[in-house]
């Protein structure tokens, strides 16, 4: 039942599902940290997905397709940047324009160039099984037997964190997003920084869109992003405009979505699985909280509460594993809202310090 294989499958799928969302969130982080609101991630991904399909078919090479998709993403974001910076269009409207434009353009092009010609996709990128690491029990299959873009996503999260918080370039980007006037005074070119950051974000959104084609599906379908770009936006906010925060939020979302699918397959007692997993979650959360409490020398009450949560979780987990539950099937629509409910529940506590870049959405003009 809920054996090793169950957890491995669940967590591995969570990483796959989190990949396009995390990449989309990184897109948002790049542009919004520099002061440009980007709600056009969804549209950017869609155009990139379409382009990567066409390019991969024409070139018969998925990597070239990925590159094409990324370039398309960069171009779409350049459009956003030009609209927002050069023409001072309201950035939310500019983003919406991109979303609507993307739907129209890709649907039309699909109808004209794909539907009629019957061209076929050329498959998906093979899994990269990392030698040695893949043989680690449990962790190996969860982390090290994925298709390449999943690793790229991890790499980009680390890289973005480093660039944003440990390099002069990142400091300048953030300065431009927080207080452009001050940045300008010390000689940082505000608008060029914004262009660069938005376009870099676009390249990453291009990767997110291409992921759907070159890794997940192998062909393009109309509107295939189905809202992942908007989820990415939410994940970015919940992650407090931080790469690692976004990754955690996306993983949580991906895990809940994977769980929703997994429980529906019908070979697992749903109630038992939920009791067990909730127990494990409480145990994990309680333990981590307790450790941080000790490290930060918090008051005793906080430690006791954390400990009680952990113990309750442990009991629930043991009960979940040992008791026999009546066979119950939870309506799959409920399982469908799981990701949203879980994300909200866990993250409401974390968003307290959330603060968007101060100059976000504000056009900068020299005086």
């Amino acid at each position: 039942m809920m054996d090793e294989k169950f957890f491995i499958g669940l967590l591995a799928l969570a990483f796959v599902k989190a990949t396009p969302i995390t990449l989309g969130a990184l897109t948002g982080i790049y542009s919004e940290r520099s002061g440009i609101i980007n709600i056009g991630i969804e549209g950017t991904m869609l155009v990139a997905a379409f382009t990567s399909f066409i390019v991969s078919v024409v070139s018969q090479n998925l990597w070239v397709g990925l590159l094409g998709g990324m370039l398309a993403g960069g171009l779409v974001s350049l459009l956003l940047a030009v609209l927002s910076i050069r023409y001072k269009v309201n950035q939310i409207i500019a983003g919406m324009v991109i979303n609507l434009l993307a739907i129209g353009v890709t649907n039309y092009a699909t109808r004209v160039y794909i539907d009629t010609s019957g061209i076929a996709g050329i498959g998906v990128l093979p899994k990269w099984r990392i030698p040695l690491l893949m043989d680690i029990p449990i962790l190996g299959p969860i982390l090290f037997q994925h298709q390449p873009l999943v690793y790229f996503m991890f790499g980009l999260v680390v890289l973005t964190h480093y660039v944003m918080f440990y390099t002069p370039w990142g400091l300048r980007t953030r300065a431009v997003g927080e207080h452009p006037r001050a940045a300008d005074t010390v000689g940082i070119p505000v608008n060029p920084m914004r262009y660069a950051s938005t376009v870099i974000g676009g390249l990453i959104a291009g990767m997110a869109g291409s992921f759907l084609v070159v890794e997940a599906v192998g062909s393009f379908q109309k509107m295939m992003t189905t809202g992942r770009g908007f989820i990415a936006l939410a994940v970015m906010i919940f992650g407090r405009w931080n790469p690692f925060g976004a990754l955690v939020a996306a993983l949580l979302f991906g895990f809940a979505e994977a769980l929703g699918v997994r429980l529906q397959l019908g070979d697992i007692n749903n109630i038992q699985a939920l009791v067990y997993l909730t127990g494990l979650g409480m145990l994990l959360g309680g333990t981590i909280q307790m450790i941080t409490d000790f490290v930060k020398k918090k008051e005793t009450r906080s430690k006791i509460i954390a400990g009680m949560v952990a113990i309750t979780g442990l009991i629930a987990a043991i009960l979940g594993q040992t008791l026999t539950f009546p066979p119950t099937v939870i309506p799959f629509q409920f399982l469908g809202i799981l990701p949203y409910v879980l994300t909200i529940l866990v993250l409401t506590g974390m968003v307290r310090g959330a603060a968007a870049p101060a100059a976000e959405g504000v056009v900068y003009e020299k005086q």
């Binding site: 799928l13 796959v16 709600i39 076929a120 498959g123 062909s219 109309k222 295939m224 529906q264």
Partner: protein, 386 residues
């Protein structure tokens, strides 16, 4: 700072609302067969609301018979539902020797336009009117009652509107339905006979669309009929009907989950979502089964893997009923059941053993003879006869 966060959230909320409103305002997607038609619903509705695109041409005096076709929301060449019915009408018109100006269609842009679109044809003096889709059932029935001289044909429109097991017949109206459960049953039997791991999977659109549910019910029954110990893994897309049919990535990931649990044959019944499952399974080197039309022809990516498709023959059903309405063939008011069967094996012709083929033929005969129940009473949401 707070204000920015608030604005961002507000915008997100607006987008979600707008998107869901698009879906909600076009409930056609609820009784649509598991094809990609809802895609059209989503894309069309927001851009061109409530407008009929093409009025029927006037003046076709030389026509003894005039056929008008009101599509379901979406376009005429949608590679699926609307197009198949139109093909049937064109074939019938050809057989009847009608000129091009004797038959025409209106592309419905919004569910609110169904009635006025039918009215347009009635006023023009059309003698046969074909309507497409479950949601136009009432509109078609009302029009048929008030225009007894015009023959009506409706696809996906069961005529047992009060669900008492007896058709509520209007003499000048035939509604076409399909036994999706029957072709699903055969698909399940094929999967059950071909599996080596004794585990098979099915990835479906939404359970709010009865034909999709019937495919699932049939598939599971068929597999268990030929292979009682088999494990059948099934999953519906949890989203609303505007998303449930257009999410190939979800379909692919779900198929992959099933494959990880040991499934070695995947059935995809949910438009693009189902197609995503087919391509994912095919990329993993496993055999798949398609749905609705012969997907060997419509999903080129999976030609090497697709064993067959649980097909329903909309073209023939529409053609025959239009011909009957024109006096060539027997006119059967009430519900007409079109054929649902397995599509050709194509590349798998040689790979499927003869005894499997023989069993399938045998089962098909038994189903037609009514010896096997493919849609048992009590199957929730399937609309099976009670």
């Amino acid at each position: 700072m707070r204000k920015n966060l608030f604005v961002s959230l507000l915008v997100l909320l607006t987008i979600v609302l707008v998107l869901s409103a698009c879906g909600g305002a076009t409930p056609t997607a609820t009784e649509k067969p598991a094809t990609d038609a809802p895609t059209e619903v989503v894309t069309e509705a927001p851009t061109e609301p409530a407008a009929t695109e093409e009025a029927p041409t006037e003046e076709a005096a030389g026509c003894a018979i005039r056929i008008g076709y009101v599509t379901d929301v979406g376009r005429i060449d949608d590679d699926s539902f609307n197009e198949a019915s139109w093909t049937g009408i064109q074939q019938a018109a050809e057989q009847l020797g009608l000129g091009d100006d004797c038959y025409d269609y209106i592309e419905t842009q919004d569910t609110a336009d169904y009635v006025s679109n039918i009215e347009a044809f009635v006023k023009e003096g059309y003698t046969i009117i074909v309507t497409s889709g479950f949601l136009i059932t009432e509109g078609t029935r009302t029009a048929a009652e008030s225009n007894p001289d015009i023959k009506f044909v409706g696809t996906d429109q069961g005529q047992d509107v009060d669900y008492d097991g007896v058709d509520d017949v209007i003499p000048n109206l035939t509604g076409i339905l399909f036994h999706e459960d029957q072709s699903g049953f055969l698909a399940g039997a094929l999967a059950g006979l071909m599996t080596e791991s004794n585990t098979i999977g099915g990835v479906y659109g939404t359970n709010t669309v009865p034909p999709v549910v019937r495919f699932k019910v049939g598939y599971e029954l068929g597999a268990k009929h030929v292979n009682p110990d088999i494990t059948v893994l099934s999953a519906y897309h949890p989203g609303t009907s505007d998303v449930a049919f257009v999410d190939p990535a979800w379909g692919g990931e779900t198929a992959q989950t099933m494959i990880d649990q040991g499934a070695d044959v995947i059935f995809g019944a949910g438009g693009d979502t189902g197609n995503g499952a087919l391509t994912a399974a095919c990329n993993a080197g496993l055999p798949v089964i398609g749905v609705d039309v012969d997907q060997y022809l419509t999903v080129p990516e999976v030609q090497a893997c697709i064993m067959s498709s649980a097909q329903k023959d909309l073209v023939t059903a529409v053609r025959d009923n239009v011909l009957a309405a024109a006096g060539e063939g027997e006119w059967t008011p009430g519900t007409f059941y079109g054929k649902a069967f397995l599509a050709p094996f194509h590349d798998w012709e040689d790979k499927i053993p003869d005894d499997v083929k023989a069993t399938l033929e045998d089962l098909a005969e038994q189903i037609l003879a009514g010896e096997i129940v493919t849609c048992p009473p009590g199957s929730e949401g399937a609309g099976c006869p009670e």
